[in-house]
């Protein structure tokens, strides 16, 4: 059973980093790369095991059985890993590995790097914990670990006003959202007297009270904030550009999805699925999804700052994921719902890959040229062909051109939303039109006439190019077998998420 090592390895790595850092710069970088690579190995093994067996893996902390002795309810913290959690754990470890490898060169000019690597590893621990946990308070603790690490990383360059201002905005609003989430969890505890998600699901199904609905409202509000849905997306557009680029890749690729949409889907399906009208919850999420789609993508067009453009584009893509989850809830039990949910899961993984790639490209441009203003960047393609190629692949994938991976996931979402309600499909298409416009604009900048600033630019070193090429390769490979991946991984993952009685029985046994 490799599951505990998913937390043990990066946590040990994080705590040992300050000590290893005493041995020098090289040792510190090597240590961080080694630890993230090891975690990636553990996550791949875990994913393979769960995918092969098709069962839900349950791990009890400190005991063999989640149930207490002589009582019929769980008394310990359980970790519960189904296919969806394992898939997201794999995604987290892959992007974290790539980002750490990238930052060995990208962060070389900064100081305080032993703290940087410690925080990155802690961030990874928090995200992996959210993916695998089956206990509500444990979820809150991991969410806070993730959030605090990301507040600190956004403001890592505290000698710039930009980082500090973005960090303090993110932090104030983020801790407010965390307070909402904690309040929701406390309300559920006060009403039902348990914190295990599976047992709580059973209790809510047996006695759905008004308190449970209030708690769901508070939890959903907090989690929509963490995912950057539209009325509360402002922190994201500030935080992602201000962070170091390797961190933007992790924030945009992972944090908003694991701490936001994944947790929302997990709570809506696995915990509240049996006790609450899924149609209502689904339509509320669809409403936010449509607003997010339009506003995020439309705001991306008018940006002149490259990283800010990518950040708004992330908001827009979160809209697609929320749309898939919302339709999955509202059309629960039908084929349309299955397809929408599979599309949302697929798009989460795809967007993690391509947005990480785009932020790494932006980082390379900033690193080599010292500016991220699009008006000064024309004609990079002549001087930095590999970076520009990586950007081309990432942009084409995010728009959803057929040979790349973004096509299949967006197609699943378009198809299901058109079958569910044509009006929603129209909104999704409008969002994509805006998104295309935004990226075409950047593309023209990249391939235009070289400006004065660009003339002496060179490609970054290997440690920055290799991570980009890994992601390009992943995008192209995933783009070549879209339907096989969707049949073999994404649809089963959507089915395990929808099958909440299996989630409950995995912990409680045949109760």
């Amino acid at each position: 059973m490799m599951l505990p090592y998913l937390i043990i390895v990066p946590l040990f790595g994080a705590f040992a980093t300050p000590l290893v850092g005493l041995a020098g710069k090289k040792a510190r970088e090597l240590w961080a790369v080694l630890i993230t690579a090891l975690t990636l190995g553990v996550a791949s093994e875990l994913f393979y095991t769960v995918w092969k067996s098709g069962e839900i893996m349950v791990y009890t902390l400190g005991g063999k059985n989640p149930l207490g002795q002589g009582v019929g309810f769980p008394i310990r913290i359980v970790w519960e890993v189904d296919l969806l959690s394992a898939l997201f754990a794999l995604m987290v470890t892959l992007i974290a590995f790539v980002a750490v490898l990238y930052s060995t060169e990208y962060m070389r000019h900064d100081t305080g790097l032993e703290k940087y690597y410690t925080l990155v590893l802690v961030l990874e621990v928090g995200m992996l914990g959210i993916a695998i946990t089956g206990d509500l308070f444990n979820f809150y603790v991991f969410l806070e670990i993730m959030s605090i690490a990301s507040y600190a990383l956004v403001a890592f360059r505290n000698d710039t006003w930009e980082g500090i201002e973005a960090g303090i905005k993110y932090m104030f609003t983020g801790s407010l959202a965390s307070a909402f989430i904690l309040l929701g969890i406390v309300l559920l505890y006060g009403q039902y007297g348990t914190l295990t998600m599976a047992y709580l699901a059973k209790m809510i199904a047996g006695n759905p009270t008004f308190t449970a609905k209030v708690a769901l409202g508070l939890l959903a509000g907090g989690l929509l904030f963490k995912s950057g849905a539209v009325p509360v997306h402002m922190w994201l557009a500030d935080a992602h550009p201000a962070a170091p680029s390797s961190i933007s890749a992790m924030l945009s690729g992972l944090v908003i999805k694991i701490g936001g949409t994944y947790a929302l889907a997990r709570l809506a399906f696995s915990v509240f699925g049996m006790g609450i009208s899924m149609k209502t919850v689904g339509w509320i999420i669809i409403f936010f999804a449509c607003a997010t789609l339009i506003v995020g993508n439309a705001m991306a067009i008018i940006q002149t700052d490259m990283k800010r453009l990518f950040a708004f584009s992330s908001v827009g893509q979160i809209g697609y994921i929320l749309l898939g989850i919302g339709i999955g809830l509202a059309a629960y039990g039908s084929d349309v719902g299955d397809v929408a949910l599979a599309g949302a899961i697929y798009h989460t993984v795809n967007h993690a890959l391509m947005k990480a790639l785009l932020f790494l490209v932006a980082g390379a441009v900033i690193h080599q040229l010292g500016t991220k203003n699009l008006n000064e960047l024309s004609g990079i393609a002549r001087r930095m062909p590999v970076t520009s190629f990586a950007f081309l692949v990432g942009a084409a994938a995010i728009i959803g051109l057929p040979p790349l991976n973004g096509f299949a996931s967006k197609w699943l979402i378009y198809e299901s939303s058109a079958l569910f309600n044509p009006f929603l499909a129209a909104i999704a298409i409008i969002g994509t039109a805006f998104c295309t416009a935004a990226y075409i604009r950047v593309l023209f900048t990249f391939f235009g006439r070289p400006s004065e600033r660009v003339v002496n630019a060179t490609e970054p070193g290997k440690a920055m190019l290799v991570p980009m090429l890994i992601l390009v390769l992943a995008i192209i490979i995933m783009g070549l077998f879209p339907w096989a991946i969707s049949e073999k991984v994404m649809i089963p993952a959507a089915k395990t998420l929808e099958n909440f009685s299996a989630y409950v029985t995995a912990v409680l046994g045949g109760v």
Binding site: E165, M171, F172, A179, Y189
Partner: protein, 121 residues
């Protein structure tokens, strides 16, 4: 009637503290005061947790030297563990927020939140 208010007094205080916290975050312009508002909010949630675990007339959940009548008559220990965790998280958050406030003052020369807005667009 009086009894109902007294029994629910902790929850009334929680609601009041939440209101004060939200007011402070929403209407105060000094960064330090906003930090204080978030602290008040966290305090309210912690108080709520502890109040949920109270059993009337019960003893502290420690078995060492417990009087015989404390057997099967102790307050719930789980919310106390949860509160302890959330207090620690709250301290970490406020330490980081105050560090940010110091840095904001260094870069902007003011702690007024309405003036800390160079990022836009």
């Amino acid at each position: 009637m009086n009894n109902v208010v007294l029994v629910n007094l902790p929850f009334v205080v929680v609601a009041l503290l939440l209101a004060v916290g939200f007011y402070t975050i929403g209407f105060k312009r000094n960064l330090i005061k906003v930090v204080i508002g978030i602290e008040i909010l966290e305090g309210a949630v912690n108080l709520f947790l502890i109040a949920l675990g109270y059993v009337k007339g019960a003893y502290a959940p420690i078995y060492t030297m417990a009087p015989p009548q404390a057997e099967n008559n102790m307050v719930l220990p789980t919310p106390q563990a949860l509160t302890l965790t959330s207090i620690v998280i709250g301290v970490a958050v406020s330490a980081l927020m105050l560090a940010f406030a110091v840095n904001i003052y260094r870069h902007y020369g003011t702690l007024d939140v309405t003036k800390v807005r160079r990022l836009r667009g």
